[in-house]
Symmetry: C2
DNA sequence: AAAAGCATTTAAACCGCTTGCATTTTTTTG
DNA sequence: CAAAAAAATGCAAGCGGTTTAAATGCTTTT
């Protein structure tokens, strides 16, 4: 009927030692005589004892679990980061509680709170908007937090990203160099700093450098999805753009297909560079030129940084920028 | 310095009631006088008290957390299921601990054990191979388990799937109807029941019905990845196939692109039907014809089933088959 | 007004493990 | 060989809740 769990107490009794000793051998504490350790280990094995992590968590105030807030696991960009996060988490004996937020501020706060209630040792947050309310929650809790692939303009909270300004500047400049003068900039909401501040800045910078006037009509704000990309093609075309820099791969492949289905030949008639270099770029035809970013590593590094913070180690640089690059594949001349 | 946590005890003191009463109001127990409830609620609000889920878990033996073992979050098929799982989990106030297994038996067991140590209330397992050792772990623990998008030939453990035999039969028959006689069947390892038993059976069934001899040379075993698909095209072509039924969307898009890059026109010269109807099917060009399966729902239903099991409700049918269909898009005539 | 019957509350025993401190055992040392 | 030092081990107090049995209040009944 009941789960007939065997506890540390059972082991102690069977091995005729105290719970304290059993606890020590379980935790690899060196203050145990080898003979005793062996005896205890045998009993543990015989009884098939497994420490209850919840009890352990209560007593030690550590759960070896971190919370991961992700907009949508189904988006390849985020799931790539998540994979990096999970792998290094595993490496450091942590588990991750994964929660989708849909970038909904309300949900984010809600989720963050339940994660904190569950006493996670740290949290990794993905989401492009660090609203005041979520920041308030962050600071209120003493739990370490790091952003992965998400910027905090204030640089208050630790984060791992690439230099979006430079990256988009370079991507845009590439397009300029290929002779384009009307380059569309299509991405997610400009109210998200990553778009409205960083990427847009890079875009403008490249234009200024090329002495091309900035035209707001070439800036397209939409959501990160394939459908949105397909849908926005008409407007991009109508605006007279001959090329586009795009902030998300799903969005980009949508736009690419939208153009293709419209009879436009890429890259001859239209060039395009996307931003994330996820595996989608290789799946598209033509393959998409892209800013390259180490997605997996962004997640991995973020998690590594978090382990340091949870470990109260001194961290010299809270705001990490990983290297990016540009690969030209089939969507640029 | 310390996290200065405020506990139920603090609330009790401030509200001059016992912890038990505070516990009752927190848990919505009706046996509390409205006036008392109000008073306690005020103190909770004033002190900004949040129940410690770990302590609660220890005392109540419920963690409202379920473990989710997934081969790879980065694979759109699995992440789609995961999304369904998480949404329903959230709906029922559960959180999910997500762990990647890479379909590695060793890792799966390892992960399952740490999940059980963390006292998850249930687990959802994705992975195409239910080895004896993992099944042993399953039965050893009294924790409810359900498989999502993964079959257990023995039907010992609860699961949610579509009818792979029928689905592949229908897909293959469609290809037959279009006049193909040499139809390749390309999928993951045949040692996985879902492929070796179910899908293969459907494939053979369709051939038999059409009086086409089964030719082992038209069966391709590979891994579920884009690269694998691209790579296997040459062999499929060499085998003289004029069409293919494929067990995974990433694999399918790889094969599709492999063919296209080789100058083969799909669907005129080669037809293809894939299996999962993930968003990749719409991203490919031509768009891929596919067996349709309610990916999100498979996850959602699996989680729903798990909630029932965790709740010790009687479950009439442990082996759920959701409806599937066939959509013909651009890769079939 | 005392006895009953309910509705509320409280006291206190866990839940299973960690950990500081005390105690015991073993090893060194003079 | 006794004393001091070091190494092992045990005790018991938490960790922050849940939950049951018992106690307390009030209202109702007779």
């Amino acid at each position: 009927m009941d789960k007939q769990t065997i506890t540390i107490y059972d082991v102690a009794r069977e091995a005729s030692v105290s719970m304290a000793t059993v606890s020590r051998v379980v935790n690899g504490n060196p203050n145990v005589k080898p003979a005793t350790r062996k005896k205890v280990l045998e009993v543990i094995d015989r009884l098939d004892y497994r420490p209850n992590a919840v009890a352990r968590g209560l007593a030690s105030k550590k759960t070896t679990t971190v919370g991961v807030i992700i907009p949508d696991v189904t988006n390849i960009y985020f799931s790539s980061l998540a994979r990096g996060i999970d792998d290094v988490a595993t490496m450091y004996k942590y588990n991750i509680i994964l929660a989708n937020s849909d970038e909904n501020g309300q949900k984010e706060i809600q989720v963050l709170n339940t994660l904190l209630a569950k006493q996670v040792d740290g949290v990794i947050f993905m989401g492009n908007q660090i609203t005041e309310s979520i920041r308030a929650e962050f600071t209120r809790s003493k739990t370490p937090i790091v952003l992965a692939g998400s910027v905090d303009p204030n640089e208050q909270v630790a984060s791992v990203n690439i230099d979006y300004v430079e990256a988009i500047d370079e991507a845009t400049s590439t397009l300029v160099r290929h002779g384009n003068e009307k380059i569309a900039f299509v991405t997610g909401s400009l109210s998200e700093p990553i778009n409205g501040q960083y990427r847009l800045k890079g875009y403008k910078k490249a234009l200024a450098q090329a002495k091309i006037a900035y035209d707001p009509n070439l800036v397209f704000e939409t959501e990160y999805s394939y459908k949105a990309g397909e849908a926005i093609w008409d407007r991009v075309k109508a605006a007279g753009a001959t090329a586009a820099v795009i902030g998300d791969d799903e969005l980009a492949i949508g736009l690419l297909n939208g153009a293709g289905d419209d009879g436009v030949v890429v890259p001859d008639d239209f060039e395009l560079i996307t931003s994330n270099d996820s595996k989608l770029t290789e799946m598209a035809r033509p393959k998409m030129s892209s800013i390259t970013q180490p997605l997996y590593d962004i997640g991995a590094v973020a998690m590594r940084l978090l382990t340091k913070m949870m470990n109260k180690e001194e961290v010299d640089n809270q705001t990490i920028l990983l290297p990016y690059g540009i690969v030209e594949r089939g969507t640029t001349k």
